[in-house]
């Protein structure tokens, strides 16, 4: 029971991270090609300036929660995904620095450089996150002791000895890139006005079509790579509500965007991310990290869960702390609600 609970608590924190940091990553990607003038850059950065750091805290808080609730999973996955994680860390460093510091430098060339770093790092992070999730769904070559080490790529096939990147995880990366870019565009439509908002508007439909296609492809690919991911759905047919939710939220994004209800469209895009991640979690549950080397080596919930005292001590402070954290999040978003205007602050 505790295991089931903590599995979903960690999942909720990851979803929180993806939905929140997702839009500021998306805004970063849009900096590469949609946001053009200096004024537009300032406005779009100001739309995420006060919140991106808090959004990223969901990653740290989620990582910490994973650490104490499932230490074996944390230890095995972080050391096994060593190389891509280090790249992710470097990207997070570069992205944070370039985002925060561009406005402290008033030389155009340097700003352009920092904007490029910010945009590229955002895009690569989105791709890496998608690929990471796909790696978990596909499974990794776990040894008997629960550890593994993955090279960046092998033969690009999701077989028994895969790499971080293969055709399947690349699809995962693309889904994440397009989904978060769309999420970011919907955020910009809410927060900015003028030319930039119109351009963001005009890019929604192409992104939406790409996302709908990629979502379908990734779903089929997942079933192909790991047929067992349908087992839970077959056992509890009511949970087919999750893929239905994916489709419904995608349609809602399209509909609300078309009828110029940007806040609803943005929330629907958040729901889409939620359903996609929840669907993936339910597809592997109660396994946390499947093994490509035989199901008996899977890191399962029962194997990875912390001791009962740790979990009950953790639950007490965690619930209290997260109520506070959600309070701060709501507070800061409400302080900075409304459109960002150029010049004033």
């Amino acid at each position: 029971m505790m295991g089931f609970l903590w599995f979903w608590l960690v999942a909720v924190m990851i979803v929180g991270y993806v939905v929140l940091d997702g839009f500021d990553l998306g805004v970063g990607v849009l900096h590469l090609f949609l946001v053009r003038t200096e004024q537009e850059r300032q406005v779009s950065l100001r739309s995420i300036g006060p919140v991106w750091d808090g959004n990223e805290v969901w990653l740290l808080a989620g990582g910490g929660t994973l650490y104490f609730a499932f230490p074996l999973l944390y230890a095995s996955a972080f050391s096994g995904f060593y190389l891509p994680l280090m790249i992710v860390l470097w990207l997070l460093v570069l992205r944070g620095i370039s985002l925060e510091l561009r406005n402290h430098i008033d030389v155009g060339v340097w700003r352009a450089l920092l904007d490029g770093v910010f945009g590229l790092a955002s895009a690569l992070l989105a791709i890496f996150y998608g690929a990471a999730l796909a790696n978990v769904l596909r499974g990794v070559p776990l040894q008997a002791d629960g550890y593994f080490f993955l090279p960046l790529w092998t033969n690009w096939q999701p077989g028994p000895s895969p790499g971080i990147l293969d055709w399947y995880t690349v699809i995962g990366g693309l889904v994440a890139l397009v989904a978060l870019t769309l999420h970011g565009a919907l955020w910009l439509i809410i927060k900015v006005s003028g030319d930039l908002a119109e351009r963001a508007q005009s890019i929604v439909n192409p992104l939406w079509i790409a996302l709908a296609a990629l979502t379908g492809v990734s779903l089929l690919a997942t079933i192909h790579v790991r047929p067992a991911s349908l087992n839970n759905y077959a056992a509890y047919p009511v949970t087919y509500i999750v893929p239905v939710g994916v489709v419904a939220s995608l349609i809602a994004v399209f509909f609300w965007n078309k009828t110029a209800q940007p806040v609803k469209a943005f929330l629907a895009s958040g729901l889409y991310l939620f359903f996609m991640l929840a669907g993936a979690c339910w597809g592997v549950y109660p396994t946390l990290l499947p093994a490509t080397t035989g199901a008996e080596r899977d890191i399962t919930l029962a194997r990875a869960i912390s001791g009962p005292h740790t979990l009950s001590v953790g639950l007490a402070w965690w619930s209290f702390g997260m109520v506070l954290a959600i309070g701060y999040t709501v507070f800061v978003y409400s302080r900075f609600k409304g459109k960002v205007v150029a010049g004033a602050h």
Binding site: R46, V57, T65, Y67, G80, L89, V313, L324
Partner: protein, 449 residues
Amino acid sequence: MTAEVIHRLHFAFTVTFHYLFPQLTMGLALLIVVFKTIALRTGSEEWDRAGRFWGRIFGINFVFGVVTGIPMEFEFGTNWARFSQLSGGVIGQPLAMEGVFSFFLESAFLGLFLYGEKRLSKTMHWFSAFMVFLGSWLSGFFIIVTDAWMQHPVAFDRLPDGRYQVLSFWQLLLNPWALFQYMHNMTGAVVTASFVVAATGAFYLLDRRQENFGRLFLKVGVIAGVLSTIAIIFPTGDLHGKYVARNQPAAIAAMEGLFKTEAGAGIVLVGQPNEETGQIDNPIVVNDVLSFLIYGTTQAEVKGLDQFPRDQWPTALPLLYYAYHIMAGLGTYFVALMLLAAFLLWRRKLHRARWMLWLLLISFPLPYIANTAGWMTAEIGRQPWLIYGLMRTSEGFSSTVSAGNGLFTLIGFMGLYTLLGLLFTVLVYREISRGPEAEVSLEGAVYAD
């Protein structure tokens, strides 16, 4: 180099570079609350401006602290997997608490503090500065709790498969080691901030510009400096040292270079420890002082390294000895310098005493060195243990991550952090050149006032 050494260096390098930033963040957060409080109570524009100026420096410093801090939480898993697997049920908790209780708080109110001044009432702006202070000091607390459990494990038991689990939330947080170390460490952060503020004041006065602010910073820096440099030795350093001596006797013997057990042990002021011969080369010793410092009487017996099997001696003994002596030596210099500066301030001679201004200016890097050396003392003193008495460092690193992979990412971090160091220097240099008189919008536009 073995994989173990590389994983140790990996963590040591990234955490040492990281902590250059939080020590100023935490100390400065307190001083900014002081600036804002005085501004709020007196309605003084000058104090408000001083608070805003340090807020800008704080903002830059904070970003570097955040981005270099994220890798730290991940490195427990990437580089220390076997340690994390066994101890995650305990030390994962304070690390997660840091995220949940302090990072959310800090990030929410920092945005308001930096971007929201014109949207908020003066009281609300003060409040957001206070919450940033609270968040950063809470954050420090959870990290110290994590480290304290590795130094002095409490409130745990072991599951049948060898993993640790925590038994009591409050006993974990109120680990006596954590309380002593926290007081000592946070005082150290205030020392760094005091020196930085005082040195900036001295710089403006020496350079004859923005002299009103120069005098203001000098006053605040020296007053905070004299209080914190005394408190870092007594009571916080004294209490922490005595607790270490009782609980990690081998560490204290190595720090002090005491090879042989002695009643009335002397303190070594200068000298080089020689592991081969088991003595201090070229020593200058003051008799009986060590016994007195630890036990309060000059004749108490202090255990030397001869009481411990060789495989329980701290592994990098001379490094530990030097780190500790540098920390203690600098700490003594800080008190002398700040007392003298405070005396001159009281006699209203400080802002004309250029030799003293020069001393204050060039001394600002020293607290960074002292804080770093202090942490090296704590962490190297714990060796050869990763969790004191329970798990050796050689049993904790990620066995699947080879030496070459570790070295690759270590060098990667070194390169990236060199770049960050340069960038930080340029940005802070620019802010200090502009000074508090410039009205700078964080959105980038600089407009004269």
